[in-house]
Subunit: 251 residues, 2 copies
């Protein structure tokens, strides 16, 4: 067999929902493969998919272009593998935290803040070996939401749909007086805040705590507070706001 097509690549990329990859992914996989994934993760996060050349990835990984094509067959497959390596554990941690929350709460639904923490914390504190790599991993996940082309959109929807469904359900139960659609829209608003935060576009406008752990923690607290208030206000009757007061853009 020329390429390990059926061993690792398709095992993690053909499953539509969160795949059951082992915790330490294939300890017997070659070092070149891991270095390629590391370099692809970093460069795709920094420059996007179309903006990153396969040669730039292989140079950063210290190998050759043909090695990348031997292991992954395609530039797009390399991106998928690099993405799944980071996103799948986050979504698994999210669902595990939600399971624990619901098991502990029994009948009555958990509080909104706890549900938000279960959803947001795994994304903000991704498991990583080196601490300074966390920022890049976040960017990869954020790029999955911001890169436009089809290879991204479909993959993102398949990866996150089960997570979204379960959390919207739980949030709707925690907010029984709000309609499900209100909760769903507010949930997607929260996803927007999270994506914008982990994209790093907030870093340049805001002084951050030098310690990334402490910074993640305070940002998580702020994020939970903001989103919880927004979710609770989702279906409220709104006081009259003069919309005719603004001129010039009502076309």
């Amino acid at each position: 067999m020329e390429r390990p097509e059926s061993s690792t690549l398709h095992a993690v990329s053909d499953v539509p929902d969160v795949p059951d990859v082992p915790e330490v992914p294939e300890s017997g996989e070659s070092a070149t493969k891991r270095r390629l994934l590391d370099a692809a993760e970093r460069l795709f996060a920094e420059r996007g998919f179309a903006g990153t050349s396969l040669r730039a990835v292989t140079e950063a990984a210290g190998t050759s272009v043909s090695a990348a094509n031997y292991h992954f067959g395609t530039k797009q497959a390399l991106l998928r593998a690099a993405l799944l390596r980071r996103v799948a554990p986050v979504n698994r941690a999210r669902l595990a935290a939600l399971d624990a929350l619901e098991a502990e709460a029994g009948d009555e639904p958990p509080a909104v803040e706890l549900l938000l923490e279960a959803f947001l914390r795994p994304a903000l504190e991704m498991r990583s070996d080196s601490p300074e790599r966390v920022a890049r991993i976040r960017q990869v996940a954020a790029r999955l939401h911001t890169d436009p082309p089809d290879h991204m959109a479909g993959l993102a929807r398949d990866l996150f749909r089960p997570v979204h469904e379960r959390f919207v359900d739980a949030l709707a139960r925690a907010l029984p007086e709000r309609s499900r659609q209100d909760v769903e829209v507010a949930y997607h608003f929260t996803v927007g805040v999270l994506v914008h935060l982990i994209s790093g576009h907030l870093d340049s406008c805001q002084e951050r705590d030098p310690d990334p752990r402490a910074d993640s923690e305070v940002m998580l607290r702020r994020l939970i507070r903001y989103a919880a208030a927004g979710l609770r206000a989702a279906g409220e009757l709104q006081p009259g706001i003069g919309r005719a007061r603004l001129q010039g853009v009502t076309s």
Copy 2:
């Protein structure tokens, strides 16, 4: 003179803050130039900067590559011009609405909802000739926040900094019991929600009103409600949330 370097291109690209381009930009500008901007706007929105070739733009515009380079000199300058054509009016409308709000309010600061409407409505209801083009224009503006490379980041910061400063000031005055940093972070959270909404990444997960005007209006109402609640909760003391309750991702 070979190229109109000092007439239109630099007049809209060298000014750091919102440039004073006329409302109808240079009615005497060639039709080719406008068709190039239209095509660039559409393709950059759909496929991003690196993912769009100059030839794809010129083919969609029905001209030649050399025409694009004659008018703009560079692919990046073409993107800047296409971006500025849409973003500058939005930011001008934002500041005008804020001016009107503050002039009307007199001494006491305007309500948070009114400030948010002044900031959000121009972005959601961009002035446009054809209604179905609004979606693409939104994507262009959103891409300005999501595309990673430097040519975007610097441009976005320069374009939006004065807007951000003035709105954070006004919001801080409207929320005197909150610290300025709390308001600033919550404001950036709100920007994140807006960017995610206008990127179109919410469209696939949510049924939308068939009438884009009505859809924009209901989404604007939801957005204002969500962000106002989040902003008001920005500095509140937080009830104890057991953070040790989540396991598996605390690395």
